[in-house]
């Protein structure tokens, strides 16, 4: 790759060597990337003794005992349901409220609109750690702490800023004539938004949904602060708790890690194109 083709006595050969080098580097990087995941899956299928005996070898016989154990101990179905509840409440609120606000502010000229928009956007610079202490106090006072629904509400509050920012920018590309035409046809403000505008925002809605879903699904610190009862634990929290409990029984721990990552890996395989595009769009626009 580094060698200019013209300098080489055999231009084609020089190019091929360069290309092979590129592929080699990429393959090494790919192996490095997958290694921890591979080791985790591999050893979760062994017994503890088999693992200690040879950590790299294939299991002599596939056994799913660790998984059954971890499934039960993390109360997998309930943890999964808790995680989903939080994500659904959070996502619905963020998408609904942020699209309404972003649209209307983008369409309304004037100082009030500008002030509101600035209020939302400026806080995107405030790190979570700077607000978490007081957030816990407020959530306790409002009895939002300790419930999956409540946690979903908190995510709405923390997530709308970025979503509003993205919607606000996107709405500019939706022709104003549409609004006017709909009003002339006797469409009210609310119907105009939900029937005419909202469907047109789908591309940016997809981006926002993906970014926020990944955030809520993988967030650890906020659930740790907010969910006090193990009945409400998310997948991550139950996995973390199990980690302390098993105390170095790695075969069992790895099974719980694999179980915790299954849903996201499945999601990734299904929606790969949208996820990668969503990440790129989200970053470029914010």
């Amino acid at each position: 790759m580094n060698r200019p083709a013209s300098e080489s006595a055999h231009p084609k050969l020089g190019f091929r060597v360069g290309y092979a080098l590129v592929i080699a580097v990429l393959i090494v990087a790919a192996i490095f990337t997958l290694f921890p995941i591979y080791m985790g899956v591999l050893n979760s299928l062994k017994t503890e003794g088999e693992m200690l005996n040879d950590i790299l070898a294939f299991p002599s016989r596939l056994q799913f005992g660790n998984f059954a154990d971890a499934f039960e101990k993390t109360d997998y179905m309930r943890s999964l349901r808790n995680t989903l509840t939080i994500a659904v409440v959070g996502l619905t609120g963020i998408i609904l409220f942020a699209s309404m606000a972003g649209y209307k502010m983008s369409r309304t000229p004037g100082k009030l609109s500008g002030f509101l928009f600035a209020t939302f956007v400026l806080s995107m610079l405030i790190p979570f750690h700077s607000i978490m202490i007081t957030l816990v106090k407020i959530s306790k006072a409002l009895a939002v702490q300790g419930s999956t629904f409540g946690l979903g509400f908190i995510y709405i509050g923390l997530g709308v800023s970025m979503a509003i920012f993205l919607y606000h920018g996107f709405v500019k590309s939706v022709p104003r004539e549409l609004d006017e035409a709909a009003v002339v046809d006797g469409c009210g403000e609310v119907r105009l938004f939900f029937v005419v505008i909202f469907p047109l925002l789908l591309p940016v809605t997809a981006t926002i949904a993906i970014l926020n879903l990944l955030w809520m699904w993988n967030d650890f610190l906020l659930p740790l602060l907010m969910l006090t009862d193990s009945n409400d634990y998310t997948l991550l929290l139950s996995t973390n708790m199990l980690f302390g409990e098993y105390n170095n029984d790695w075969a069992a721990i790895l099974a719980s890690l694999v179980l915790a990552m299954l849903p996201v890996i499945a999601l990734y395989i299904l929606l790969q194109k949208y996820i990668l595009n969503g990440i790129a769009d989200g970053a470029v626009k914010s």
Binding site: P4, S6, M39, M51, S123, P127, H129, T134, I138, I253
Partner: protein
């Protein structure tokens, strides 16, 4: 007539903005302002009575708290390494992946995958590698350079945290850089090729300047995320041994929730973290924007 129309417009605006604003005010603005206010008190989080102490908390955090100073220093060191390495690796991966013909999609899929996982999960998996797999490799494959306590030795656990963070974060930036590279006009590269430029010269003189705006974003994102690092450290070392690998976020967490529950004091530390991130980000964006215009 005009006034009523304007008022009507404002009412409609507020009606559409209200739901978002309500959640935002309660869970974002109020904690932010509340935190700023508490940082000036000696509140312990439980006792309803507390006193205003002015900037005493700030003074204490900055001059009389070795564990906070250490966590700040550790975090800054981590941030510097992350900004340089994460962006360099992401750009390298993006360039290499984009130069491949077949298999491009595979590589992109694989390099991004760790990003789908929580760093708690990733961190625990790496903990397995650093403790069990590495000692196995030392014993059976003779890879003696792995023979160290990755987690127990503060020097090496810094690198362990760095490796895991890069593993988890580089793919995200790679996706952004790939999008930027795809936006570079093909004609420019072709012209460079005709002029006899090799791959390095083309990268240095065409690709790099053209993706400069993406680098601004990449550094911004890395600064932001690595100043807030928590999950990977939590999973790998828990901040230990002792407090050797404690990042600022952990120090604040501990101050508020586990040891002393000094809410006022912890809030002051949180405000200091905010100011540091804010100032550095502003300076970075200012500098990069200036260079962007020149480039």
């Amino acid at each position: 007539m005009r006034i009523t129309k304007k008022r009507k417009q404002s009412i409609a605006l507020l009606a559409f903005v209200f739901p978002a604003l309500a959640f935002y005010a309660v869970f974002m603005l109020a904690p932010a302002f509340g935190g700023a206010a508490y940082s000036l008190t000696d509140w312990n989080g439980l006792n309803p009575a507390y006193e205003w102490v002015g900037f005493a908390n700030y003074a204490e955090a900055l001059s009389d708290d070795p564990s906070f100073a250490h966590s700040l220093w550790f975090t800054v060191k981590f941030v510097v390494f992350m900004v340089v390495l994460q962006n360099a690796i992401a750009i390298l991966l993006a360039v290499l992946v984009e130069s491949v013909g077949r298999g491009k999609a595979w590589f992109r899929t694989i390099f991004f995958m760790p990003n789908m996982l929580s760093m708690i999960i990733g961190g625990f998996m790496w903990l397995f590698i650093f403790t069990k797999v590495s000692s196995y490799l030392v014993e059976h494959a003779g890879l003696s350079f792995l023979d160290r306590s990755w987690i127990g030795d503060p020097d090496f656990s810094f690198y362990a945290i760095l490796i895991v963070s890069l593993w988890g974060g580089a793919g995200y930036l790679m996706v952004i850089y790939i999008a930027a590279i795809q936006g570079v006009p093909k004609q420019l590269k072709e012209a460079a090729a005709i002029d006899g430029a090799n791959a390095w010269l083309t990268f240095r003189n065409i690709t790099l300047p053209m993706i400069y705006p993406a680098i601004t974003i990449g550094i911004f994102l890395t600064l932001n995320s690595s100043f807030k690092a928590f999950d990977a450290v939590y999973a790998l070392t828990g901040g230990g041994p002792g407090r050797a690998t404690q990042v600022v976020a952990m120090n604040i967490y501990e101050e508020a929730f586990s040891f002393n529950s000094r809410y006022g004091y912890a809030s002051a530390k949180a405000m200091i973290l905010f100011l540091i991130i804010f100032l550095i980000t502003m300076v970075q964006l200012r500098i990069m924007k200036i260079r962007e215009v020149e480039a």
